[in-house]
Amino acid sequence: MTPVVEMRGVTKVYRSGSSTRTVEVHALSGVDLVIYPGEYVALMGPSGSGKSTLMHIIGLLDSPTEGQYSLGGEPVRGLGEAQLARIRNQRVGFVFQAFFLLPRLTALHNVALPLVYRGLPAAERLKRARKALESVGLGDRLDHLPSELSGGQKQRVAIARALVQEPDLLLADEPTGNLDSKSSDEIMELFDALHRQGKTIVMVTHEPDVGARAKRIVRLRDGKVADGGMA
């Protein structure tokens, strides 16, 4: 079976500072990671260990300084900006800690947003968005603005926005970090359900009980995989 994510020796170095004195931060050094379709992986580790950086590289928002990375069997090295954008649009669904909903759009239009960049007609976009919202239990909140929704509901809208893309991979960066424990449980149950439906999920978290729901835990320490990199 072709892995969804296949990384070999991925390194990410951030350079900052002036021309006379540059500071190098090795956010990732030599990461090997393989994730197969249908897996539910928790990415854990202390703050600053490189979890978000790894997630951004997996989701093609960032590129490795060194090493090989293939998404769905396709090497991403050398792809142009527009090609990366297209792959993001069709194969990767993001869920962020801070939801990142557009405040002036209704839940329905927020969810339909990724489909705008596929050139789908408006009616089709809204039809699919409605279905996605119904699948996360928000069929009765279509026309609500984000400000009219609770934190848990906002995150469910964000998940619906990722689902509407029908991605190969769901990437969630601390999706419960901004939620109370009751909403957290609801969101985690939603991810469990998505996993049962066969979705591939990678979730960054530093909460052990959240990580415990995943079927596999990858631990990062100082930019290296300490545990669980290979299935």
């Binding site: 989701g59 527009a82 297209r86 993001r88 960049y117 596929r118 050139g119 007609p121 408006a122």
Partner: protein
């Protein structure tokens, strides 16, 4: 793949509508700029039309022939003769020869003032409809040929000669500068010229038969006229007939002795003067557009900074840099276009108000070309001043934008 460009317009409207107050303030510069440019251009066109109409009412479509004063000629060295009139009869014009001389009247016992005595054919209003009778009548062709002592007064002359009295029916007592006296029975008074020419066009003139001046003036020579007015017949081409008249006088007397002018050439001069004025005012108004454009750029830059999150999110969801650039460019263009539209509407309102209240502006002109130009320029301003903010939005790194602090 790829998105419908209309989608960007819809998004632009949504985002501008979501920020009504700011959008409106950003628009203001463009509104004022487009308003100024549109109003300037249209007012210029309306002024030209107004002056042209006034001129036509005063002078009609005519050709004038007179001695070429620029070349040192005068009424005695270059008079217009009977045989010249014969030659002119062949052209599509009415031939109205005229003669004038200075005359005096007694304003108070012992005090004499000058006015103009003008000899014309009879029934002048029929020959040249720009002359209109206010009271009484014009002297007839028969009276003119007979050289009868009759007169028609200009509005001013009637007031000067018979202050506070009805002039028609009175006898005007006039003196040639040499001393000879003539008594003329006033049979009519003319209407004052209309429009802006009314102010300076109404000179004190006494109209009388040419024959009478020839009979009585110590200086006028029988068979010679001072100038000739040639109102064009319907359908006659002013330029072509002007050239024909010129040729007649040149072949008889050589170049430079007579001056031939048409009201049309005068209008041409007028038009080029207003065009220069329009261009100048337009340029000044254009400056306000520039200022408006810089305002748009400023607002767009603020908007890009404020919407860093949104831009990062859109990129994460699959927007290319090109699509982000397009979105912000279209936002800028929609902003300036709406501003331009408001500016045009305001200008249209002002022009309507001006035509309704200022008598000089008789016709309302807002040409489709002006409207199209105004809108095209506003769109271009948006495009031009939107380029930099849009480029900044497109260059934004989504990771930086989405970093949650």
């Amino acid at each position: 793949m790829g998105m419908n460009p209309l989608e960007n317009f819809r998004m632009a409207f949504e985002s501008l509508w979501g920020n009504k107050l700011r959008s409106f303030l950003a628009l203001l510069g463009i509104v004022i700029g487009v308003f100024a440019v549109t109003a300037m251009i249209s007012l210029g066109q309306m002024a030209t039309a107004g002056i042209t109409q006034d001129l036509e009412a005063v002078a009609g479509r005519s050709i004038f022939v007179q001695p070429n004063f620029n070349e040192g000629q005068d009424f005695s060295s270059a008079p217009i003769r009977e045989e010249d009139l014969q030659a002119l009869q062949a052209l599509p014009v009415t031939v109205i020869p005229q003669l004038f001389t200075s005359i005096q009247y007694e304003s108070k016992p012992g005090e004499r003032r000058s006015m103009q005595l003008q000899g014309t054919p009879g029934d002048l209003p029929k020959l040249d409809p720009t002359n209109k009778i206010a009271r009484g009548r014009y002297f007839t062709d028969l009276e003119a040929r007979g050289g009868l002592a009759v007169a028609v007064l200009s509005d001013r002359a009637a007031k000067d000669l018979f202050p506070g009295r009805e002039a028609v029916g009175q006898v005007a007592r006039l003196y040639y500068p040499g001393g000879a006296r003539i008594d003329l029975t006033v049979v009519g008074v003319l209407e004052p010229p209309s429009g802006i020419f009314g102010g300076f066009g109404s000179s004190a003139t006494v109209y009388t038969p040419i024959q009478l001046i020839w009979n009585t003036s110590p200086t006028a020579r029988r068979g010679e006229y001072a100038f000739v007015i040639l109102p064009l017949k319907k359908g006659a081409d002013a330029q072509q007939v002007t050239r024909q008249v010129q040729r007649i006088f040149e072949s008889r007397y050589g170049k430079g002795k007579y001056q031939v002018q048409s009201t049309e050439s005068f209008q041409g001069t007028l038009r080029s003067v207003t065009l220069i004025l329009q261009a100048l005012l337009g340029a000044i108004a254009g400056l306000s557009l520039l200022v408006g454009g810089i305002g748009i750029m400023n607002i767009m830059l603020v908007s890009v900074t404020e919407r860093t999150r949104e831009i990062g999110l859109r990129k994460a969801l699959g927007a290319t840099s090109g699509q982000i650039r397009q979105q912000f460019l279209i936002e800028a263009v929609v902003l300036t276009l709406v501003g331009g539209l408001l500016g045009v509407v305001l200008a249209a309102g002002l022009l309507l108000l001006i035509t309704a209240t200022v008598p000089f502006f008789k016709v309302y002109i807002l040409s489709p070309t002006t409207v199209f130009l105004a809108l095209a320029v506003s769109a271009l301003v948006g495009l031009f001043f939107g380029v930099w903010p849009a480029a900044r939005a497109a260059a934004l790194d989504p990771i930086e934008a989405l970093r949650y602090e």
